[in-house]
C-alpha cells in the first residue's frame, strides 16, 4: 500500500477533479491519495465526486486558513 500526495491548491475547475481522477487512476485498490485543496469549488466537489466513483474519503481536515487536506482511499 502506498500514499501519494497531490496539491491542487492552484488549480481551477475542471482541473481540480480531473487531476484527482488521473492521480487515482494510477493507484491500486487500498492506496491512499492525500489531496491538498482550497475551500469553495474544490472542497465541495472533489470529496463528493471521488466517493461517487467508489473511493472512500477517510478524512477532511483544515491545515491552513482556506486550505484543506482530503485523504482518499482508492476503492
Amino acid at each position: 500500500m502506498k500514499t501519494v500526495k497531490l496539491d491542487i491548491t492552484r488549480e481551477h475547475c475542471p482541473m481540480t477533479f480531473v487531476k484527482t481522477k488521473l492521480a487515482l487512476e494510477k493507484l491500486n485498490k487500498g492506496d491512499l491519495l492525500e489531496v491538498i485543496l482550497k475551500e469553495g469549488e474544490p472542497l465541495e466537489n472533489v470529496p463528493q465526486t471521488t466517493s461517487e466513483q467508489g473511493n472512500i474519503v477517510l478524512e477532511i481536515k483544515r491545515i491552513e486558513n482556506d486550505v484543506h487536506l482530503v485523504v482518499i482511499e482508492k476503492g
Partner: protein, 159 residues
C-alpha cells in the same frame, strides 16, 4: 453496477473560446465518470487536425484553399474581439497566469480520461480530407445515424 451516465457533445464551431467550453465539459464529465463522446464537425474539425498550422491538405484546388484558410489548432479565432488572430494567444497567456487550464491542457486531459473522439463523415468528405489528416485519437469517422446511436440515453450538447 449502475449504468454509466453519458454526455455527447457536437463541436461544430471552430472558435477558440467555444472549443474551450467543449473540452472543459468533456474533461470535467469524464473526470466524474461520465462516458463522453465528442463529435467534431465542420469548423470544429480544425481543433483536431494533425497539422496544427495552416496546411494545404485535401482533394482538389477548392478544398485545399478552404483547408488552408480554415487552418488548424494554432489558427482557431476567438469568437469575439479576435484582433486579427492575436487574441487566442493573449487569452492563453491570461489563462496560464490565472492557473486555468489552457485549451491544449484540456484536450490532453480529455484524451487521458478516454473521451471518445469522432469526426463527421460528411464534412470530411466536403473538405476532401481523410482520417490520417487528423490526430490519431479520432476513433472513427461516422455519420448522424451512428452518432444518434452513440448518444442514445444520454445528454447531448451542440456547441
Amino acid at each position: 453496477m449502475i449504468d454509466k451516465k453519458k454526455i455527447s457533445l457536437v463541436l461544430f464551431s471552430g472558435d477558440f473560446d467555444k472549443a474551450i467550453a467543449a473540452f472543459t465539459i468533456a474533461s470535467g464529465a469524464a473526470a466524474v465518470n461520465y462516458e463522453v463522446n465528442l463529435f467534431f464537425t465542420f469548423w470544429g474539425l480544425n481543433t483536431i487536425k494533425k497539422n496544427r498550422s495552416r496546411s494545404v491538405i485535401g482533394k482538389g484546388i477548392l478544398a485545399r484553399t478552404f483547408n488552408f484558410l480554415m487552418g488548424g489548432f494554432n489558427n482557431l479565432p476567438l469568437s469575439r474581439l479576435n484582433f486579427a488572430g492575436i487574441s487566442p494567444n493573449l487569452m492563453t497567456n491570461l489563462m496560464k497566469k490565472r492557473n486555468v487550464a489552457t485549451l491544449r491542457e484540456l484536450i490532453d486531459a480529455s484524451i487521458q480520461l478516454n473521451v471518445n473522439f469522432y469526426a463527421c463523415e460528411m464534412s470530411i468528405n466536403i473538405l476532401g480530407l481523410k482520417k490520417e489528416d487528423f490526430i490519431p485519437e479520432i476513433k472513427e469517422i461516422l455519420g448522424v445515424a451512428k452518432f444518434l446511436k452513440l448518444s442514445e440515453n444520454g445528454k447531448v450538447l451542440f456547441i
